[in-house]
Structures are given as structure tokens and as C-alpha cells.
């Protein structure tokens, strides 16, 4: 018999993933018993067999004793014990190991374990394989990465779905405080009344009274309370807005366009890892922004929803919805060795050109959206710009969909070295070009800058032969001033027309701080 001790005092995420695992174990003929902290509603537990409620324990040792007592009282012979809890750690495992032959830990916090097997589905890009490395025991095995994300069977083979083009979905998971989101939802209802808005209200949600009031005045607003499965909502919505949490893998499995934020520590993720899953729009503190700004971003995303769909298509790490089944099979068989999810590479579908044997250049695509921002905000770049502050994430996303730049990225072995861009403006029947570049890596040196400027000038000469280049270069940046001088840029201080155009195109550049130059 397999026992699952799952924490139900901090949301339902732990319980739900263990539930999907238990159902798969049951399919394999295993008898499963659950030990929980709180009474759970029937609709959550009805497919599960034995569920036992444990008394609240003040310490880990006390909880372990409660578990052992229950096993004895119920005469349960436990072969394997699965633990999924943030409250219980190696201390609890150590105590239970005295009574159960095999302990399996489900975790996502990279903690030390005594369990023979540790399952952690968190994707941490190239660092996924080294999670737990510092604390791993020699005999311990690991199932690491999204291949082992334990989702409902409803998330299998569900990437190709017919989506509504007028349906928004909001969710905060099993709990969450809806207070801050209510104003945003009200704004959407008033600004975009053609959209149906589905709110998924979890069983532990708070501040929902105003939402009920809002629903009375807006027929397009649906409050869906504690649904059994969200798969169909994910599959049909145009855009999901909500807390990241367990929705990350469900969104990825269904390839749902999404804008998410964090409401708990375990929802903090590295953006590069989210990019690998095709999840490009995560602003941790989104709900702290003024509602009008959030609305602006949501509307920009809706206007560009086809582009966001495409961004989800070709991803480094796929979620196939088979994780629970995979884990169940591995738990019930002899696991030969640890298993770790591997990412696919070469995902950007863009034409590469070789500038040297090892350096390539390609057009920037939508999947570069976060890498572009991260590079732009590197301290070594920011000081050279006419806007020296960090670019805000929300502003960047809105700008990304509206910008008309020709942007390119120079790479070495697929790793960005620098970004370069130019943009054409027509002012009084004359074409003008402006452009710039910024480093994406500490490896960028003078030669790369020279190489990319050389390429850019040749490229724009072919594409826009009649255009005049104008530029502003920070006077402190002696290297770039010399580089451009070598490339044929000259001061335009004596040319009133070019000066006026340049000042119009670079309103933040002062004559005191920047050299105004042109070519052509």
C-alpha cells in the first residue's frame, strides 16, 4: 500500500498534484491512502479511496507520530510513503523512515531530503540538473523537471484546440485575494465589453463579494466557483490572466496565451526558465501596477494574440500531460537511475547569416522579448542610452508590440552577444535612419561592435539607399564616437535641418551630453 501525506493547510496545489498521481497509481493496481490536514470537499476526493484527517501537530515529530498511530490503528501496511509538504522536511522524513521502508518526497524548494526518491518538477533551465546536488545522498534518486509535473489526464494531447477569440480567463488558483484584481476586471468589462470574462474562484478565495456585485451588472462576467477541472477553460480562452503557481504547466500543456504574476514565494521563477516553457509574459508584481497600465497591456496582448499563439508553438521544454503517469510507473518499478528533463535547442525559426565562422546574425523574433529587455537593462548598456533608467517590464511589453524597429541579434553558438537595431523615419520627404546597439554579454568587445556596425551600414545602404543616418552618441563614450567616426559619421552641429530632425528623433538627448552626428 502507498500512503500520501499531503499538506492541505497551504493551498490546494500540493493536494491536487498528489491526487493526479494517486489516480495513476490506482490505475496501476496500487492501493493508495491519503493523510490530510483539513476536510476536503467531496468533488475533490470522490475518485480517491481512503482519506484520513490528521489532527493538527505543533511539531514535525508530533505529526510523524500521528501518522504512525493512524497506520497502526487502521492496520495499514505501508510500503511506500509519499510526502508533499512545505511544513515537513528531513526531520519528519527521518522520523518516518523508522516505520516505513521507502519514503518519496515531492518538493519544489530544493530542500535537503532523506527520502530514497525526490520528485521536483520545477524547471530551472540549465540549473535543473544541479538542484539538490549539494545535499544529495549517494543512494538517493531524483526525478527532476517538467517531465514529472503531475497534472490531470485532461492535459494530455490538448495543445491543438479551437479557441474563442473573445474570452478572458482569470484565476488565482485554489485561494488568493481578489481585491486588487477586481478593479482591473471592472475596467475590462467597461473597456472591452465584447469579451466574455470567466473568473475561476478557488475554494479558499477571499474578497469575492465585490466580484459578485460586479457580476450582477455585467452579464458577460461569469464567476465559476471551485470547478473540478480547469482544462476546458484553459483550452478555450483567448488569454489567461492570473497567478502563476501550478497554472504554469497547465498553461504550457494547453499552449494558452497568458499574463501571470506571483502571489507566493514558490511562484517566483527565472524568466529564462519560463521562456523555455513558452511562457513569456510573467510580471511578478503585476497587480501592484496601476489598473490602467495593466489594462493597457492586456489590450495590447489581445490585439497581438496571434503572435503570442505562435510564441507558444515551438518551445524548448514541452509539457505533455503525462507527468503523473510517468511518475506512477517509475515509483512502482525499480528505478535504475535519476531522470532529468532535457531542453530542445535551435528553436528560433529565423534566417541566420554568418558574419564570421563562429558569429551569426539573425532577425530578432518575438521569442527574444525578454532576452532583449534583460540585455537593454544591463548596467553597462544603460549609461550610454538617452534614457538611462531601467526599462520597465510592463512598458517593454507594450512597446514590443508597437515598435517598428528592424532588430537583429548577433550570436555565438546560439548565445546572444549583442542586439542591433535601426529604424526608418520619413520627415519632409526625406528618409532618415536611426539605430543603435547594446551588449547582451560580457564577452562583447571592440571587434564585435566594429563588425556589427560594418554589417549594419552595408545592410541599410542596400535596403534604404536614399536614407540619411543621424545619431547621438554620449560624449563620454569615446570608443563609440571613434567607431562611428571611422565609419564615416561626421558632426551635424552646423546643419540646422539635420539637427532639428535628430533632436526630434532623440528628444532626451542634450547637446551638452551627446555628440550629434550623421552620415549620408
Amino acid at each position: 500500500m502507498i500512503a500520501i501525506r499531503v499538506d492541505t493547510l497551504c493551498g490546494l496545489g500540493h493536494f491536487m498534484r498528489c491526487k493526479w498521481l494517486a489516480l495513476e497509481l490506482q490505475c496501476l493496481g496500487e492501493e493508495v491512502v491519503f493523510l490530510v490536514d483539513t476536510q476536503l470537499s467531496d468533488h475533490l476526493t470522490k475518485e480517491l479511496g481512503n482519506i484520513h484527517l490528521l489532527p493538527y501537530a505543533k511539531t514535525q515529530i508530533e505529526d510523524a507520530a500521528n501518522c504512525v498511530q493512524l497506520f497502526n490503528e487502521q492496520q495499514l501496511i505501508i510500503d511506500k510513503l509519499i510526502i508533499d509538504s512545505y511544513r515537513f522536511d528531513i526531520e519528519w522524513e527521518s522520523e518516518m523512515a523508522k516505520h516505513v521502508p521507502s519514503i518519496i518526497a515531492v518538493d519544489d524548494l530544493e530542500r535537503e531530503h532523506l527520502a530514497v526518491l525526490v520528485i521536483d518538477s520545477k524547471w530551472n533551465a540549465e540549473k535543473t540538473s544541479s538542484r539538490y546536488q549539494s545535499t544529495a545522498l549517494e543512494s538517493q534518486q531524483f526525478l527532476l523537471g517538467p517531465d514529472f509535473s503531475m497534472l490531470s489526464r485532461a492535459y494530455r494531447n490538448c495543445a491543438q484546440t479551437e479557441r474563442s477569440n473573445k474570452e478572458l480567463m482569470f484565476s488565482l488558483g485554489g485561494g488568493g485575494d481578489w481585491k486588487q484584481l477586481t478593479e482591473i476586471i471592472r475596467l475590462i468589462l467597461e473597456t472591452a465589453p465584447e469579451y466574455k470574462v470567466n473568473l475561476i474562484i478557488g475554494p479558499n478565495a477571499t474578497s469575492v463579494t465585490q466580484l459578485h456585485e460586479l457580476a450582477l451588472g455585467h452579464s458577460q462576467l461569469n464567476l465559476i466557483e471551485a470547478p473540478r477541472c480547469l482544462a476546458n477553460y484553459y483550452k478555450s480562452c483567448t488569454l489567461f490572466v492570473g497567478a502563476l503557481g501550478t497554472s504554469l504547466y497547465e498553461l504550457a500543456a494547453t499552449k494558452t496565451p497568458a499574463l501571470t504574476f506571483s502571489i507566493a514565494k514558490n511562484q517566483e521563477n527565472q524568466q529564462t526558465a519560463l521562456d523555455d516553457l513558452g511562457h513569456y509574459f510573467h510580471i511578478a508584481n503585476l497587480i501592484d501596477y496601476p489598473p490602467e497600465q495593466i489594462l493597457k497591456l492586456i489590450l495590447a496582448m489581445l490585439q497581438n494574440i496571434e503572435r503570442i499563439h505562435l510564441m507558444r508553438e515551438n518551445v524548448a521544454v514541452k509539457i505533455d500531460g503525462e507527468g503523473a503517469s510517468r511518475v506512477a510507473k517509475l515509483i512502482t518499478s525499480e528505478l535504475a537511475s535519476s531522470q532529468i528533463t532535457q531542453a530542445n535547442s535551435n528553436l528560433i525559426e529565423s534566417q541566420y547569416q554568418y558574419l564570421t565562422d563562429t558569429i551569426t546574425l539573425r532577425r530578432v523574433v518575438d521569442q527574444d522579448i525578454n532576452r532583449y529587455l534583460a540585455a537593454r537593462n544591463l548596467p553597462n548598456n544603460a549609461w550610454r542610452m538617452t534614457i538611462t533608467k531601467d526599462i520597465d517590464q510592463l512598458d517593454h511589453y507594450c512597446w514590443w508590440f508597437a515598435n517598428r524597429r528592424d532588430s537583429y541579434v548577433m550570436e555565438v553558438k546560439g548565445k546572444p552577444l549583442l542586439y542591433v537595431w535601426h529604424q526608418l523615419y520619413e520627415i519632409e520627404q526625406q528618409n532618415y535612419l536611426i539605430g543603435g546597439w547594446f551588449a547582451a554579454s560580457d564577452d562583447v568587445n571592440f571587434a564585435h561592435a566594429q563588425l556589427v556596425l560594418d554589417w549594419q551600414l552595408k545592410e541599410t545602404e542596400q535596403t534604404y539607399p536614399d536614407a540619411i543616418w543621424v545619431a547621438v552618441i554620449n560624449k563620454e563614450n569615446k570608443f563609440v564616437n571613434l567607431l562611428n567616426q571611422r565609419a564615416g559619421f561626421k558632426s551635424i552641429a552646423g546643419d540646422a535641418k539635420k539637427m532639428a530632425v535628430t533632436q526630434h528623433l532623440f528628444p532626451n538627448a542634450s547637446i551638452d551630453d551627446f555628440n550629434f552626428v550623421g552620415k549620408g
Binding site: 571587434a447 561592435a449 566594429q450 570608443f479
Partner: protein, 86 residues
């Protein structure tokens, strides 16, 4: 060693000296002015431009991307080759 290569090496050695970087004759061919960190990007570009002016050659950007050409001897060899091919 060709005269031009010798001249190029001496020009680089003099350029370094004027910036307070003294490199012995015996070491100059193997001296890597990028790895040594003695010159910043501006100075390196200045060096390239001064060699271009002095020897009437145009140094393509690809040439300096190859890290091996940051060694004075290799740079001189590459520039001689470039000069000969023009």
C-alpha cells in the same frame, strides 16, 4: 621576417610605449594586447586606425574578431597578408 611585418611590430610596440606599456623586444610578438588589458576598446580602435593610416590598409572587422590576432606578431602577419592580397 619581412620588413613590413617588422615595421608593423615596431609600430605597435611604439604605440604601447606611448601609453606607458613597455614590452621587451623578445616578448612583443607574443604580446596579447587584449588579454593584457593594457588598452581599452578606444585605444585598440585607435591603434587599428593608426596602423591603417600609416600603412595605407583597411583592416576588416572580421580580422580583429579572431582572438589570435590580438597577439602583436599574429596581427602583423595578418596585415602583411592583407596588404599582399590587395
Amino acid at each position: 621576417m619581412s620588413d613590413m611585418k617588422q615595421d608593423l611590430i615596431q609600430s605597435v610596440q611604439q604605440f604601447l610605449l606611448e601609453r606607458g606599456v613597455f614590452v621587451e623586444d623578445a616578448d612583443i610578438a607574443e604580446y596579447d594586447f587584449v588579454a593584457a588589458g593594457a588598452l581599452d576598446s578606444f585605444e585598440i580602435l585607435s591603434l587599428i586606425m593608426s596602423l591603417e593610416t600609416e600603412y595605407g590598409i583597411a583592416v576588416p572587422p572580421e580580422l580583429m574578431v579572431d582572438g589570435e590576432n590580438a597577439k602583436v606578431g599574429n596581427l602583423a602577419t595578418a596585415l602583411v597578408k592583407l596588404n599582399d592580397s590587395n
